[in-house]
Amino acid sequence: MATVRLRNISKSFNGVEIIKGVNLDIEDREFAVIVGPSGCGKSTLLRLVAGLEEVTSGDLLIDGEKVNDLPPAKRGLAMVFQSYALYPHMSVAENMGFSLRLARVAREERGKKVREAARILQIESLLEHKPKELSGGQRQRVAIGRAIVRNPKVFLFDEPLSNLDAALRVQMRIEFMRLHDVLKATMIYVTHDQVEAMTMADKIVVLQGGVVEQVGSPLELYHHPRNLFVAGFMGSPKMNFMATTVSDASEAGATVTLPGGAALEVPLKPGHLRQGERVSLGVRPEHLGLGDDGQLRGEVRLVERLGGKTFLHIQIEDGQMFIVEADGEVPVRIHDRVGIKLSSDTCHLFKESGEAVPRALRHPLADVEHPQEEA
């Protein structure tokens, strides 16, 4: 069993609070991804769990045991650093076996464990090499191997893919998921890349300014973001936002008026909005369509063709820019005037405070646990 629980964890540096009262539960064998923009405190949070920074206040529990005062090595954790942090003067085998050497494990036993980890990571041929002779991807595997050898309860990963090129990143993402399956360990993974978070996580923790904005499964965050920040952060390209006013609120939802005069009724849970209230309408690029009967009209300012799909940057009546995802073959050019179609069941409304108004219906996949596993 390897659960990690954070209870009101706060961290200050020189009187500046970086982590502000974080509460978090990570269950056994869960792949939890902490995601957020640069400077949000995600690496600091990971370092607090690791024991490389001291907690200012709050409790950190691993498997129910309070570990605030335990040194890193006694917490049953292993960490893979962003820069891999391999020992440059030691060979790959020595790097991987260092923790066992410190623990006075016999040489034979050490060798066996190192070879086993090398086999899992397919780096047996590199054992006698020094880190400087390896490529970035190989070094990263060695760093992971060093963690595996420790047989930890929890693996901690601090932006492990950010130093790799795009192609390698995709390959390593698959590799990480395979490792999670093989090792059956709890993993806490920190990244600023929400694509990594969406594809790899069982549970995503969105952090901003040292505060947890939302915790949930990838699809829960995607379909039911709790506030403007989460809505804008998850999904690429970003969700389109538009300021508008509630023209009518009923049991079925709220009606808003769009620029150009069209009305849109968004199905929401009743009792959250009043008539005349200012709100933000949010809709993802992939949920917008093109058509002459669209509720919005605008001029195409930029066409980004990716081959399989096209992103159109359209300036609508009131001057705002909307991004619409369209088919790869769409026959649209710059300066074309087009209509944008919104569908009410894929629209989100956010109050002036930024808080999302709960939608009338939950998305069927939003509440499925471990969506990658067989249902």
Binding site: F81, S83, A85, Y87, S99
Partner: protein
């Protein structure tokens, strides 16, 4: 291309001239050691003469060179090892556990080098006398390690901060205690830097001429006192003095020549990124 080549030639010639200028006193001293006393003070000074080793013989007869040399070796090496023993943990603490006062502490340490040694000569002399450290290798060793400590700490600090913090944190995650971090990681990774620092400390201790003259007499006098003993009230015997000086600096000159690459690397390390 031609302009660049000409520029390179000019700078090369200038560099050789500067080197020649700096080396000239040593060269002249070397030459003078093989002249007779008369030739040594002749004007105009002669570049070509019949060399003789009578000065070296006379010097060795008058004073036991090897005893002085041995003292120099023991004191230089000993003071370096002592300085390193204190400086390594100090620099480690400053590099990896800095506080608001760390930079100030380092600057303060360096500022003590600005104090003229003669200012503390009397108290140190009296202290050493009372502790029985006068004219002992141990006493001089302690003084040298203390006067070189600021430089040794500073240099080690600049090498230690080059070691990536995450490498030591990874070791901590692997179960390393501070002494393990030092032994398995910091020392092997900073070995070139520690070597350069040690070399510099040896050279500084070898050449030190104030404390060696004031705190030693017959037993612990190193080679700097050996040279000074040839400036006698009867007048300066230039040829013998030159021979004695050559014998005094020869070991450290050879040593410095063999380790020059390491020395230069150590001294310029932090300067160029």
């Amino acid at each position: 291309m031609k302009k660049a080549l000409r520029k390179k030639m000019v700078f090369t010639v200038l560099a050789w001239l500067a080197a020649g200028l700096v080396f000239f006193p040593i060269f002249w001293m070397l030459l003078t050691g093989f002249k007779t006393e008369v030739e040594a003070v002749a004007t105009p000074p002669s570049l070509f003469f019949r060399p003789t080793i009578e000065n070296y013989v006379a010097v060795q007869q008058r004073a036991d060179y090897f005893k002085f040399a041995w003292n120099s070796i023991v004191i230089s090496l000993g003071s370096t090892l002592l300085a390193l023993a204190f400086a390594v943990p100090a620099a480690y603490a400053m590099a990896f556990f800095p506080t608001k006062r760390t930079k100030d502490t380092l600057l303060w340490m360096l500022s003590t080098k600005m104090l003229p040694p003669v200012g503390v000569l009397v108290p140190i002399y009296l202290l050493f006398r009372d502790m029985g450290l006068l004219d002992t290798r141990l006493g001089l060793l302690i003084v040298y390690s203390l006067i070189n400590l600021p430089i040794v700490v500073w240099m080690l600090f600049t090498f230690f901060i080059e070691v990536p913090r995450e490498v030591l944190e990874a070791a901590r995650m692997d179960g390393a205690k501070p002494r393990d971090e030092l032994y398995y990681l910091l020392l092997p990774l900073s070995l070139p830097g520690i070597a350069s620092t040690g070399l510099l400390s040896i050279i500084l201790a070898w050449n030190e001429a104030f404390w060696s003259l004031n705190l030693t007499a017959a037993n612990a006098a190193p080679l700097t006192a050996f040279i000074a003993s040839f400036s006698s009230p009867e007048g300066l015997f230039w040829a013998k003095l030159s021979a004695a000086s050559t014998m005094a600096i020869a070991p450290i000159l050879v040593f410095g020549w063999m380790s020059q690459r390491q020395l230069v690397r150590g001294l310029t390390f932090g300067a160029v990124k």
